[in-house]
């Protein structure tokens, strides 16, 4: 019997109703996908495709005035969208943690690194300040920061972008969430540092057994780290498949466009999209095992 997924997003719609408008504006429409236990799923799309808001919705922290308008977000059996704020607060950090795009601006510039780590730890566990501080130093060491004790006493502006990102990962790790959402964790970092951060993220999964939802616009990153991929465009999911399957047999036109735009991805650039044919108005269809495509059907069906 297949295991219940850790995260099950079901027909999620996010939007808002502008002043004096009758209809709400949707930025995310009818999004459904799952993240299994200990799985790394990539959420990929161009800017404005709605991937960040989808991720933030899991934390119930969509950017105002946007909010979830319909659907369910089921984490470990509980629909997060129906929880009262009090309970949601206990979910944040403890069950789901998120790393934001710009690590340096995610840290309080006026607080020492160690203090910021320690107080997140103390708010989730019953430990003393001193123990939390020690744990902070340990965590800094585990995420690969040299001289952790010194760094703990430093301020964010004294660290490089890569180091800040490691701190964020350490923050998230320390509370051992079941699901870690990483929003563009490598954007803006040097290529060599990117590789290190990705490796660190995978190490995290190995050590803590967390599932990871990796958001990015870079298919190269997906290719390296993820097991499954969800492709979004204009607020909707257009394709879901395993990484191998997606690169071997991309079906949706937008996916193809993305692939062509990414240098070095393992697919022939001008693969003709013969295998599918457009079928507007239809939702996600499983056109191959585990491979879902939006609004298309297999060409060979028509030949019949």
């Amino acid at each position: 019997m297949p295991e219940l997924p850790l995260l099950d997003i079901d027909r999620l719609t996010i939007g808002y109703t502008p002043h004096h408008a009758r209809e709400p504006v949707h930025v995310v429409r009818d999004v459904s996908f799952t993240v299994g236990r200990q799985e790394i799923v990539g959420l990929v799309g161009e800017s404005g495709s709605g991937k960040t808001q989808t991720a933030r919705a899991v934390l119930r922290m969509t950017t105002p005035p946007l909010q979830p308008l319909a659907g369910r977000i089921v984490l470990d059996g509980t629909d997060l969208l129906t929880l009262p704020e009090q309970s949601m607060r206990r979910v944040r950090g403890a069950k789901v943690a998120m790393i934001f795009q710009d690590p340096r601006s995610s840290l309080n510039p006026l607080m020492r690194i160690g203090d910021q780590l320690a107080r997140v730890y103390t708010s989730h566990q019953r430990i003393s300040q001193r123990a939390a501080w020690q744990e902070a130093i340990d965590m800094l060491r585990r995420v690969g920061i040299a001289g952790p004790a010194r760094v703990a006493r430093s301020y964010p502006h004294q660290l490089s972008g890569g180091m800040c990102q490691r701190v964020m990962i350490g923050l998230a790790l320390g509370i051992r969430p079941a699901l870690l959402i990483a929003d563009e964790p490598t954007t803006g970092l040097d290529v060599t540092i990117q590789a290190q951060i990705l490796e660190l993220i995978q190490q995290t999964r190995a050590e803590t057994g967390a599932s990871i939802l990796l958001i990015t616009h870079d298919l190269g990153v997906i290719a390296e780290t993820c097991q499954r991929v969800v492709v979004m465009f204009d607020g909707r999911i257009v394709e879901i498949a395993t990484v191998e399957e997606l690169f071997r047999n991309p079906m949706h036109p937008h996916t193809l466009r993305l692939l062509r735009a990414t240098p070095g991805t393992p697919v022939s650039a001008h693969k003709p999209a013969e295998t599918v044919v457009e079928e507007p108005g239809v939702g996600l269809r499983e056109l191959a095992p585990g491979h879902f495509v939006l609004g298309h059907k297999l060409a060979q069906e028509i030949a019949r």
Binding site: P18, H19, H20, T63, P65
Partner: protein, 269 residues
């Protein structure tokens, strides 16, 4: 994200007051009695149906005097603020564009001017120049010039390194033309907000100077003068002589503050 609601009360209230004031200033005097005409019969009358705002110690209609003052105060504000805006923007644009030593010196000058609170600077200049309307306008303009210099200079510093500026130069335009014609208009956005606010501050400062006897003097009907004249009668309970002119000042400044606030958010978004 999203635009500000069009039905912002600030626009309505601010704009409404402004229109009313302008109307009052332009055509009001036709409908009121002569502000300079004393009437010994009705001295110090409280507001009534006959005289909406009461009469002062000469029997003059407070309403007439307030309406008469509207034109003067609005004009002073207009001239002072626009003068500060024009001179300040030109200087700021020039010094921002020129950079280097010129910029350093100019910024030191601006620092020195801004080491005095604006009102005190205007006070000093007005005191030195004498009690004339023109001097009040000059004094206030001098006080607010530095703000415009700073704002426009800041914008110009950013603008002069844009590809747009480089392209204008590359095509062969002389630097002065590039600065004045191409770049400066784009730098004026934030200072328009400041201009609106300055209109309000100018009225406050002009009235304040007059109240102290340093700006405009009686019998010229300026709102600050009117408040000053009415102050002594407050002790015997005649509050309306000072009260209503001051209220007029408040409303005038309020409308500029409201509009300026709204403008600031619009420029930022």
């Amino acid at each position: 994200m999203g635009s500000l609601p069009a039905r912002d009360p600030r626009i309505y209230v601010g704009g409404g007051i402004l229109l009313a004031l302008i109307a009052l200033a332009l055509i009001g005097p036709h409908f009121t009695s002569d502000p300079l005409m004393p009437d010994p019969e009705s001295i110090l009358q409280p507001p009534s149906s006959a005289e909406l705002l009461g009469t002062d110690n000469y029997g003059r209609s407070v309403l007439a005097r307030v309406v008469g003052g509207a034109q003067l105060d609005l004009l002073i504000a207009l001239f002072a603020a626009v003068l500060a805006f024009v001179v300040g923007s030109l200087v700021g644009g020039f010094t921002g564009f020129a950079g280097g030593f010129v910029d350093d010196v100019m910024m030191r000058l601006v620092d020195i001017l801004q080491s005095f609170p604006a009102f005190l600077l205007a006070l000093g200049v007005a005191a030195m120049l004498g009690n004339e309307i023109r001097n009040v306008v000059l004094a206030i303009a001098v006080a607010y010039c530095p703000y415009f210099v700073r704002i426009v200079r800041g914008e110009m510093l950013a603008a002069r390194v844009t590809p747009y500026a480089l392209a204008a130069r590359a095509v062969g335009n002389p630097p002065t033309r590039v600065m004045l014609y191409h770049l400066l208009p784009n730098c004026l956005g934030p200072s328009i907000v400041q201009l609106t606010l300055c209109l309000g501050y100018s009225i406050l400062d002009a009235a304040g100077l007059s109240f102290l006897g340093i700006g405009i003097r009686p019998p010229t009907a300026e709102w600050g003068v009117l408040v000053a004249e009415g102050t002594q009668y407050v002790n015997s309970g005649q509050w309306w002589i000072a009260g209503f002119p001051g209220l007029a000042i408040l409303l005038a400044v309020l409308c500029f503050n409201l509009l300026g606030d709204r403008l600031r958010e619009a420029v930022r978004a």
